[in-house]
Amino acid sequence: MTAAPAIEAERLVKIYKNVRAVDGVSFAIAPGSITGLLGGNGAGKTTTIAMIMGLITPTSGRVTVLGAEMPRQRYRVLQRMNFESPYVEMPMRLTIRQNLTVFGMLYDVPDLADRIEQLADALDLADLLDRPTGRLSAGQKTRVSLAKSLINAPELLLLDEPTASLDPDTADWVRGRLDRYRRDRRATVLLASHNMAEVERLCERVIIMKRGRIEDDDTPARLLARYGRRTLEEVFLDVARGGEARVAAQ
């Protein structure tokens, strides 16, 4: 028997005034998998993720997360999921420990002090725990956001540009931690990114969006084979430019 999808979007549409930000998107994400959502600016990735999180109500269509319809039944599942996004930040004046304490209590995390220490060790934040979040570097702040997104050991993790604005070394380090978490927890991860190398390294499946629609959806290996390309970046350019890049290359 096939397990029920962790996320299922059915003909999802979001219209802002006259703009169709998401235009009839359907997909299902298997539990325990890691999927990349690729697309240029304005492709509809963030709106799709926001609808999955229940922060935006779809204009039509439906999205279910861990069996609950969003946003109507969101309180059934919010405790079991978490997210990281560049569109939100942690309160700057609070120390890392204070922020993690507040979010740990919101998610009703048992043995919270131990969990914070555990995350601080895993994310190399132990020496910074009592420093105000506003006084951290961009890389350190990303690690704190990641710690917040893992505070409740979520079954479903939604990540919107998790390594944006990080130097390559820190970004690579973060990817390693995410990959390890997913394997250890057998968590489902949906990752929106502009970073093709990141998606190629982490994801078992890639959904490519353009102008609110899904343009392609497959494993990285099959996408590379189908487009006759060596990297996902080249595939992405083919899709983004409607095949012009491929023609130009030939």
């Binding site: 802002y16 922060l55 935006i56 109500t57 919010l78 978490n82 930040e89 507040v102």
Partner: protein, 273 residues
Amino acid sequence: MTTRAESVFAFSPRRVAAMILRYWYLLRSSWPRLVELVYWPTVQMITWGFLQFYVMQNAGFFARAAGTFIGAVLLWDILFRGQLGFSVSFLEEMWSRNIGNLMMSPLRPFEFVIALMVMSVVRLLIGVIPVTLLAFVFFGFNLYGLGLALVAFFLNLMLTSWAVGIFVSGLVLRNGLGAENFAWSIMFVFMPLTCVYYPVTTLPVWLQPLAWALPPTYVFEGMRALLIEHSFHANLMIEAVGLNVLFFAAGMLGFLKLLQSARRHGSLMQTGE
């Protein structure tokens, strides 16, 4: 099937405590925030205190009505600062771009509102208690001399301030920080209409029904009756409670509708202007 713990009405004291702790950490970490809480109430009380001192020396009626100005200032501050305390705590989430984190967490809207109500009381007490002591030292006005009436006044004013604060928070949630000015200015609409410094009969006859539709009017009338006639009109307080229940329900309903609208319009992801 949705169990009780999973429903929108499930209440968790730990989640409320988390939010109170969050605001407490913030207040504790910032002395300008603490000073600001005391600064304006003090300036206002001293200004009005001297004005009252002056008119008492020149008018027989005001000599009898000793304390009405300072009493009005202090009660107005409870109303104004109560709403501001609520709204500023909410705005802290918008300023720090943390609202998305909260809306995505299991925190229920009414748990959030309860935490904001508690913080409005905490902020108010930090700001107003030192001022009431100063009023006693400088002008001999003992607010606590109002006794149990003060409790009735306080509860009614707080209920109104929360109702307005809840509605304003909904406006900001729906419209972003462009609506922030409502948080600072909306209560001033109440100032002339609730007759803070003069009796309702001062207003034109056609405006008086509107004044009586606002709960704080009953409190300020009650305060003047207590200080001038030395009589406590319990009926005024009961009527104020009745109106406050309606105001609070309308504020909460407005907040939930605006939150729903914010989800439709994607405002929770765009918390700027």
